[in-house]
Amino acid sequence: MEVGRLPISASLRGKLISAGYTTFASLSSLSHSDLARDLKIPESEALEILKAASLNCGLDKPDKSNVIVNGAQTAWEMLHEEQSFPRITTSSSDLDNILGGGINCKEVTEIGGLPGIGKTQMGIQLAVNVQIPVDLGGLGGKAVYVDTEGSFMVERALQIAKASIVEMSNYTELLKKKNRVCQVDIQPTDILDNIFYFRICTYTEQIALINYLDKFILEHKDVKIVIVDSVTFHFRQDFEDLALRTRLLGGMALKLMNLAKKYNLAVVIFNQATTKYVEGSFQLSLALGDSWSHCCTNRVILHWNGDERNAYLDKSPSLRSASASFSVTSEGIRNSASNHKRIKLM
């Protein structure tokens, strides 16, 4: 059999065969950590086996490439990785539920809605929640907040941060009762310090900044969320060349997507609601046109349902469309207090 030809020790070969690996093909899409686990050998030895196997493959079958492609992953690996990364909570469990647990890293989530619906509130809440320590189920990360409209109010951020600290302390008390020690000794100003705040006043500044973020995050690897509030504002002015606008927006979306994947962080961009002239009447939709709506992985629309704030998951690669209610309180985003709330699946 093929593995018999590998230049490895007999005992290793024996382990390989008894575990069921007899051909090079069976080894070709395996990661060394999985192989090590399977054979109960140290990872370094597994790596050696795979290296030898790929070398051999290269020699034997020059036209067929069974070589492990640099950087490629199997779907299993990706699922494993995905599950090991906690999502960023929105502080409303109903909202988290329709989002599959919260805002996901490695993805771009677009959140849009009318003025006053709570976009900036959501942005500040996420910038605070990304900092929840790992011991308490969070990411223990920092946030980049790109403010294009001047809506970020320090007093509100401090208010939300303070409420978050109280919640964390309460949770810590609960953990202490179960003998798990975890200290929450943080001040609201500390939370504010962990939000890297950028103020943008023109569309050229916006593009320059998004280009610069790659370098910035390289130097600040603990950033786990990038929030752009809002991505729309500076692009709704007159662009004589509409094709230019589409190109700029597309370039921006691509850069944000790459940031998310490369640094394993969440990107949340806020969009404004506008009217679209469709079939002789005006309808509500999100700004920036049709081509933009393809750029984001997930899309959430915030809207009013009577007197209640609702979030509707409009687009997601893995979750079904659903709607949940939430409220904006003095503490930030929370579950809606209504008795009739329920998650509506569509």
Partner: protein, 296 residues
Amino acid sequence: MTPENLLTRPPIADKLTLGCPVLDRCLGGGVPCCSITELVAESSCGKTQFCLQLALSAQLPPSHGGLSASSLYLHTEFPFPFRRLHQLSQAFRSSRPHLVAINPCEDVYVDSVHDAYQMLDIMPKIESFIESAKTRLPVRLIVIDSIAALFRTEFNNTPLDLKRRSSLFFKISGKLKSLANRFRVAVVVTNQVVDFMGESDGVNGVKVGNFGSLHSSGRRVCPALGLAWANCVNSRVFLSRNEVVVAEGNSNELEDGLCRQTKRRLDILFAPHLPQASCEFVITQQGVFGVVSANR
């Protein structure tokens, strides 16, 4: 400009008092700097009174809720109410003689603007005016009274014209916000209302902010300039007046035996730092003052 310079500390927005603690409480301390606050109301509700009062309060020192600043007042409609400003400034000065200059009117710079394109044209002049700092006190309040009048004429109700109009909104708002951020200025803009036409009014019926429908003088109204402009301001405050039945049977009664009074109200429609709040107010010779109502 390098991208690195865009990283700043978020500004702690100084607040400009409205001149009355009851009103200030509603607004979380006053009108914030570095953002655009819009006052929406139908005519004669008190928008201009608020603006004149703010232009005077700006001159107070920060210890008294002011900004130790002068104001730039851009008016777009009727002649500027010089006499009323003078009357208010006298009352203002007499209650705080040690805190303001002999003639507070001198620290209010007034100019008129006629249309949106002219507004855009004068932005660089405004910027250099503030930057040059040739005024006795730095300019830290800009009032535009009213923004709706700038778009009165020359825009028809066709999709193309509306689109042209809305891109002007974003241009003007973008420049104002840039000024607000750069010079830590509070920008106050007044806007009018239009009647709500009913079901056929489409998007105008959409709930923007804390109230599903707004009422003034017994009619349902909506802020002018539509949804696009609503996206251009940071905070929106609604002033209204309504006739309210106060008591029954009285010597000044009307035919139906009820006594009516005009009540004025201020409502927070949306603001990134404020919960929904409202407050009753009155307009007197001395100015605008909030009223703590005994019953709601």
